[in-house]
């Protein structure tokens, strides 16, 4: 078991003929990911790495049965591409490009909710279920199949944590990159709920960082979970970051500093870790 993606996922790539799209398609296939095809408008009928290219997502879904899509397109095309996938019935969309306009992501999120689709990103390194599927740009070097799930805003932090879990013998069920953009397709609480429902995931490591609002939103979920959560927040000592302005501060209240985030998560029942090497020690205490 795993969450969101496994060896049976039928994965397509939007922007498959582009530089990044074709490069990472090759890498994902080499890992063993079940890539079934892709799209580039105007290039239907070609092949990339032996996979068929279509003009539209609906054609790709019709021709290959794709249920998952990874987007490798410039930010300005992401709104259109994501909504195209969502409306064609794709159930999981990974948005790798960064700097997606905020208003675009609000609309993508609304469409995704309406159609029961999960979106990750923008600016995510992707998601990996070790030994089964690797979607996005994560290197396979740090990952081993195992029993701990991870969810993080940042790619590099995901590698450090997976490396720690791999070396300490725990391994990972699935590692999820939420993304670094200011508005994200999915939030910590939603991914944590999926891990909680996954039988094989015995504990989850979540790493957030200063700024934003998504870590606080995880608290309710953590307090309801049977699966233990280890939490790390980057920026404990960082000077207060920039805010969105007065009205933004009102809406978000006092949320945002790393200390406040970590305190709130701990109060909800998460086990705080300061550095990576704390993680295996906490897992050991928890009997994972």
């Amino acid at each position: 078991m795993a969450i969101l993606v496994d060896k049976n996922s039928k994965v397509m790539v939007q922007g498959i003929t582009g530089g990044a799209g074709s490069f990472h398609t090759k890498r994902m296939i080499a890992y063993g990911t079940n890539i079934v095809g892709g799209t580039t408008p105007g290039k239907g009928g070609r092949e990339v790495e032996g996979r068929p290219v279509f003009d539209t997502v609906a054609e790709c879904v019709g021709g290959t049965g794709a249920d998952t899509s990874v987007i490798f397109l410039p930010a300005r095309f992401v709104k259109d591409a994501a909504i195209e996938s969502i409306r064609a019935g794709v159930k999981f969309v990974v948005v790798v490009p960064e700097h997606i306009p905020i208003h675009d992501m609000l609309l993508v999120r609304k469409e995704a909710m309406k159609h029961g689709c999960t979106v990750l990103g923008g600016n995510t390194a992707g998601i990996i279920t070790p030994g089964e599927a690797n979607l996005g740009i994560m290197p396979d070097i740090a990952f081993t199949a195992g029993r701990v799930g991870t969810v993080s805003r940042s790619g590099s932090i995901t590698y450090y944590i997976a490396d720690t879990l791999t070396r300490s013998g725990y391994g990972e069920t699935t590692c999820v990159g939420l993304g670094g953009d200011p508005i994200l397709g999915s939030t910590f609480d939603e991914i944590l709920a999926m891990f909680d429902a996954d039988e094989k995931t015995r504990a989850v490591v979540m790493t957030g960082e200063i700024g934003g609002v998504y870590e606080e939103r995880a608290c309710d979920q953590i307090s309801r979970m049977k699966t233990p959560v280890i939490a790390m927040i980057g920026g404990i000592f960082a000077p207060q970051g920039k805010r969105m302005g007065h009205a933004g501060a009102i809406v978000e209240g006092k949320m945002g500093t790393a200390k406040e985030k970590l305190d709130a998560l701990a109060a909800a029942g998460a086990h705080p870790a300061r550095t990576f090497k704390d993680i295996p020690e906490i897992l050991k205490k928890l009997g994972v």
């Binding site: 740009i137 070097i141 590099s156 960082e209 000592f237």
Partner: protein, 399 residues
Amino acid sequence: MRLYEFEGKGLFGKFKIPIPDGRVASTPDEVDAIAKEINAPPAPKPQVLTGGRGKAGGVKVVDNPADARAGAEELFELTIKGFPVEKLLVEPKLDIKKELYLGVTIDRLNYKLVIIASGEGGVDIEEIAEKSPEKIFRKSLDIDEELYGFDAIEIAKKIGISSELTKQATPIVVNLLKLFKAYDAKLAEINPLVITGDGKLIAADSRISLDDDAVFRHPDLADMGIEKRHEEGEMTPREQQATEWGIPYLDLDGNIGMFPGGAGFGIMGNDFIQYYGGKPANFMDSGGGPTPERLARMLVLLNENPNVKVIFGARFGGISRCDDFAKGVTMFLKEHGLSKPMVCRMTGNMWQEGVRLFDEAKKENPELFKNFEFHGIETPIEEISKRAVELARIAEGGN
């Protein structure tokens, strides 16, 4: 991207939100000319990208237009929170009966737009929100949801706008939301929205912040003279240099130069150093897949910073490659030489090739590497952090 008050008011004018009849001046002479033209007591306001102008002595009302020049000369001397005053917006003084607040922003937690209104404007709206939240009215909307006239009337009533003024208020609310959507705003505030003695609603100040990532689809902003800019405070010379090179960089007050990978570990690495008793001299983000040239420039920033006593390097190659990392570090060592100790860990994508390149360069010129301590995946990053703190203590004369 934050707009100047006059730029925001320009957008208000475009969306038929009433604004004072003002003009922008860059010299006391221009202020004098405008003051004569508007034929009313002029109120020149410094145009800076920060709040708190009033507190800094930056708002002046001159009762006699003939005194405008002298008042302006004083204002042009001011520096407000690090911003020198280069432009003044000269407007006729308003006869203010009441000050209200109207704003639109994004509720990221719930993925909604939210209109915020209050019968108490002109002051810090955050304070009102904290002390008397009942005085603030909010209405949430989906990004593609329309705001109807009757919604706007409801908002106007909630903040105490009288029946006879609703005809003026309704289009202001509707159009502020239109502006917000049309220009990909993160924040659009009228604070205060004033009711004048003769019963008019006027936007007396503007605060607009646009989404940097959406500026590409608003080429007309450049036609209006609105271009990408930095928002808060004055940058240090090093921050300016880093910005020119496209490197996210912040000076901090410690002595350990941070040379990390992406922003995620860029932030967390600074925490690690402080857990072990050290103090970072900076925050930096290499970005994904940095080129050797970019990495070398990151090191130049630290090498030339006299506050930096030791450099801490960390590379976990994902999308980025360790061979590029080794090339960048070697390029820097050859061109500039390391003037302080550096401790560094490198693993991940292409690490074998990275190690080979380091070994080769070191064999060629061992002198270059004499201050350089190198570790691979076998040494946990926590140990590297501790070592950096220890080296910094030694460099400062400790033991």
